[in-house]
């Protein structure tokens, strides 16, 4: 069930909507695109709420959508890509003229005469994007458009799509479960959890200062520690987490129960026992529990009295000789830790 009191798209912006499976992202997109009526509430396009079925059709013709499955109509690529314009009453010759530049910009100009059945997944999705963009929509809806593509194809399409959307100034709602896509394309990010809008803001805000624990975990802030504020002084909050103290930049009252979020890439590792001066306020001795490869990086699971994850490069793992059982020192700056106030919770 979707429960969003209000949400608006600014002209020319790309709003990325992220959330786990079943959060209601696609429902939000379908309701916004006037493909599904809301049980309560309205959808307005440029301040106007379409009422009758005729008005809704006219409003839908000022929008376009691309889904994870391209759904191209039978025939040639050119014929299929013309379809949105055909629905709008544009004659075939004029439609061809308007479609051609978009096929070129999306790198499939030479495929226009090919039957759609012969296209690869990436080519078909480029054709689907061309079909939507050729209609010059006021709003473009993208529902997990890269979900069915292999990583290299997805990356190439992402590289092409971002500049295209910005150059054309197309107002876009992008629904995705991939944080990287939201970060690369989104001007703002909306986080949807269990049908509710958990946070809406700039990427650096949502990813750097998540509103609560659930958002923190969704945006990849893997380390979320629960503790009690022991002291607040000089803009620094000292939090008791088990027997240790974590220092965070922020404001909180002593005795308040809070959460501290730290991104794994902000956790630095060094050999155990090294105690030289450092700008990092947080320094903990621990032991490596596991080393998990993640492509070019490795996730190091630590036990510092509580679980802590770090992301380091392969060369760093080799240089430090990181292996399960090894003693290490983990550090992170007070500015890298994010204080999450547990307002309303006991």
């Amino acid at each position: 069930m979707l429960d969003v009191p209000a949400l608006s798209l600014e002209a020319g912006e790309i709003l990325a909507v992220i959330g786990p499976n079943g959060a209601g992202k696609s429902t939000l997109l379908r309701v916004s695109a006037l493909l599904e009526p809301p049980t309560r509430g309205t959808v307005a396009l440029k301040g106007r709420v379409p009422g009758s079925p005729g008005e809704r059709l006219l409003a839908r013709r000022r929008m376009a959508a691309v889904f994870s499955t391209p759904s191209l109509a039978r025939g040639s690529v050119a014929g299929s890509v013309r379809l949105a314009l055909t629905f709008r009453g544009v004659r075939p010759r004029e439609a061809d003229r308007r479609v051609r530049p978009w096929l070129e910009r999306l790198g499939i100009g030479e495929l226009s005469a090919r039957p759609v059945a012969t296209l690869s997944g990436g080519e078909a999705q480029r054709a689907s994007l061309a079909r939507a963009l050729a209609a010059e929509p006021d709003v473009l809806f993208l529902d997990e458009p890269f979900a069915t593509l292999d990583p290299p194809t997805r990356d190439r399409l992402l590289d092409d799509l971002g500049p295209l959307l910005r150059a054309s100034g197309t107002t876009t709602m992008l629904v995705t479960h991939a944080r990287s896509e939201a970060l690369r394309l989104g001007d703002r990010i909306a986080v949807l959890l269990d049908g509710r809008l958990a946070q809406l803001g700039l990427p650096q805000t949502v990813f750097g200062a998540p509103a609560n624990e659930a958002v923190a975990r969704l945006v990849g802030m893997e380390n979320v520690l629960a503790g009690t504020v022991a002291e607040t002084r000089d803009g620094l909050v000292r939090i008791a987490v088990s027997a240790l103290t974590v220092t965070v930049v922020g404001e909180a009252a002593p005795g308040e129960r809070v959460l501290v979020g730290v991104r794994p890439e902000d956790v630095l590792l060094e050999p155990a026992g090294g105690g030289g001066p450092s700008s990092a306020q947080n320094r903990f001795e621990g032991r490596v529990v596991a080393v998990t490869p993640l492509g070019p990086l490795q996730r190091i699971a630590l036990d510092c009295g509580w679980a802590l994850n770090a992301l380091v490069t392969r060369p760093a793992v080799t240089a430090l000789g990181l292996a399960p059982g090894q003693a290490v020192t983990a550090t992170f700056k007070a500015t890298a830790a994010h204080l999450i106030r547990r307002v309303g919770l006991t």
Partner: protein
């Protein structure tokens, strides 16, 4: 086997000599079956599409009735139509019994559920994602139906072939409502039954070969329309 070759020989002779009776029977077969199939398409294609797309109370029951109609025995249809067109029946005043029109009516009632049921299946087989995409691109209801029919072209042409095939080959209904009257309501299937009952197996075989050739010719043309061209 000798009988078979004699039948083939007789079929060739009848066609090449333009035997007036055989010619007339063949034309009448094409005419009534063609008319019945066209009427079945006019009703079945839109009805099948509407059933596939619409949601209303009792839809499941309607679909079950259509599916039941696909297996209606031709003799049962013949009996029902006879009862309707008898002089004492509700449409007796139209005096349609034992006319080609009666055969068209009976064959239409046989073909229509076949066309409707296969159209329903063909349109339902198009993924919901495709329908949603077309709506998201601004298709009106009419435009959506047109696109869906174009997408389902292959199975829809199969529906046409199935409807035609169901009636070009039936004999029970044509006999009961047509009466197999020489020069008036005698079609290829009823003529074949008659010649067999008279012991004229070579002539019966010849008529069967002509019927098969007719059926093949129509289906070849529809298959040519259905299959995609390879460049």
């Amino acid at each position: 086997m000798t009988l078979f070759w004699e039948g083939l020989e007789q079929a060739a002779r009848l066609v090449l000599s333009r035997d007036a009776e055989v010619f007339g029977i063949t034309l009448l077969s094409l005419g009534v079956t063609g008319a019945a199939t066209c009427l079945a398409l006019l009703v079945g294609l839109p009805l099948g599409t509407a059933l596939a797309l619409a949601r209303f109370p009792g839809r499941g029951l309607v679909i079950a009735l259509v599916n039941t109609g696909m297996g209606l025995p031709p003799v049962v249809v013949g009996l029902l139509v006879s009862m309707l067109l008898w002089r004492a029946g509700p449409f007796g005043a139209l005096e349609l019994l034992y006319t080609p029109a009666a055969i068209v009516i009976a064959q239409f009632l046989i073909a229509a559920p076949v066309v409707t049921g296969l159209t329903l299946a063909a349109v339902q087989a198009i993924p919901d994602a495709f329908r949603l995409q077309m709506q998201a691109l601004g298709a009106s209801r009419v435009q959506l139906v047109a696109v869906l029919i174009r997408e389902a072209r292959l199975p829809l042409l199969a529906a046409v072939m199935a409807g035609f095939g169901a009636v070009i080959s039936e004999v029970g209904a044509s006999l009961m409502v047509g009466g197999n009257i020489r020069g008036h309501t005698r079609v290829l299937t009823t003529a074949t039954v008659l010649e067999t009952s008279k012991g004229n197996f070579d002539r019966a075989l010849a008529l069967s070969v002509i019927l098969l050739a007719l059926s093949f010719g129509v289906n070849w043309a529809l298959t040519w329309l259905q299959q995609p061209r390879r460049r």
